[in-house]
Point group: C2
Chain length 270, copies 2
Amino acid sequence: MKSLPSAQPGAETVFARRFATQLSLTPDELPIIRDICASSRPVRRRQDIVIEGKRNRNIFFVLEGIFVRYRIMRDGQRQIVSILLPGDMAGARSCFFETALYSIRSLTNGLVATLPLDGLFGLLDRQPQLAGKIFCAFVHDAAICAEHVVVVGRRSARERIAHFLLELLTRLRAIGLADDHSYRIPFSQDIICDALGLSLAYVNRELRRLTQDGLLEISDHKVVIKDIEALSELADFERRYLQPMPLGEVMAPSFLRRPAPGQGEVAFIR
Amino acid sequence: MKSLPSAQPGAETVFARRFATQLSLTPDELPIIRDICASSRPVRRRQDIVIEGKRNRNIFFVLEGIFVRYRIMRDGQRQIVSILLPGDMAGARSCFFETALYSIRSLTNGLVATLPLDGLFGLLDRQPQLAGKIFCAFVHDAAICAEHVVVVGRRSARERIAHFLLELLTRLRAIGLADDHSYRIPFSQDIICDALGLSLAYVNRELRRLTQDGLLEISDHKVVIKDIEALSELADFERRYLQPMPLGEVMAPSFLRRPAPGQGEVAFIR
DNA sequence: CGTCGCTTTGATCATGATCAAGGGATGTGG
DNA sequence: CCACATCCCTTGATCATGATCAAAGCGACG
């Protein structure tokens, strides 16, 4: 299997800039994030950076590599709660509990920067708006998680798989790691089945059917979505949950914002 | 059906105090929250306070009543993403998207206070620690959501139902709305089935089996958990995800905290 | 050359969906 | 006060989605 290339020099600033865009950083906030990213650490493939049941007080910025947040059940089954891509943050949730509720593991070699929780609360006093932006990133993460509930709760296996592949396409494209219709997934089908709560054999069969129907092509870990329209229709995929407002716009005081065209505020009561 | 009693005078301060505890508010922060709660509004049963696809820029503090966050699918099926109880916050996520991703609806008469998003960002400058605490509450909400993924993804119908009822017991007890083994659920089985991604008929059957096995009793919307131990074992219910650290402790600088007994930091790399 | 990790496929089983019908409650209007 | 409707619970019969079990193929790699 080809994994992502290992840490290259300069990756820190590439992703510091990417964070900058996602979080709408101002010129004085940017160097702070760049500082955090500068002291990054490599993570080898299949390594846990957070372990369920152990204490964690660090927030990790994923600069490179793909990670999963997961739980191992009593019977040995695994449920993957989220897929974490470069530009995402990890480990924040466990900071607010005695010990971590999930483990977080790399699927590939990767690179992460560390912000201790204390550092975040420190920022809260010195750079409150920046700290707020980081907290907002947690909210975006939660939105993906909520959507995952809907995928797993109310969709058929075929729909789940289609949705999963489309979500990955959209997220990878947003960070420049996919082209218009295709991307490399450096992981195997068991990730898909554990993310979607399905059995391996069945995921395989349904993937096969999707390719036979001409919607996909998968070969050697490269996924080509041949008909995005049809697949989106099949999966009932709405990308809105992957597109939060630009933070600069959300955080500006409301008198600076024009209301969205044609959409007033919701009438509240009565 | 008996719904919760309507807004009583004084409910604002009762729950302002409850928030105070949950968020470890300091004496100067408390009046701010109390102010927000003072201007609360009643919500009638079965009313949407956030509507999917509509713009929302308000954070709602649930002072009274039970709410659900849900999505209606193409085929008319509903997936409930979260149950919101007094003391929870609602609508924050939709503030960060052009329009709401989910609707939020009351199951009972209720009472909510409103904090405009601008107000939260205003707090960020004037009372950064308080704003941080509110953001932390979003993280707790996300933890429940993540657990929901695991429930729906990898548990049998019987286990899901058991888990759901235990989660409710635990959360209601935490806010004083349940006694040791029982509580009233002012809603019907279709809420359970839409929360867990099951069919109504099957939920009914499995509920029946659980009562026949002597684990539960349900009559007229009152749930009595007769054997918490056995039910927890059956559901693989771990309440940890409902017990975040007291924020006062999390937010204190680390040199004030003693490490958790017997649990060092996680060894990071290698 | 043998092993390991991953994919593929077949056969069978069962969990849970769907369809259908009936049975209290409670409420409402005539 | 009764007729009727509505909401929710209950139960049976049947169906199908997806799990489980089993086995084989196939690179890659040591």
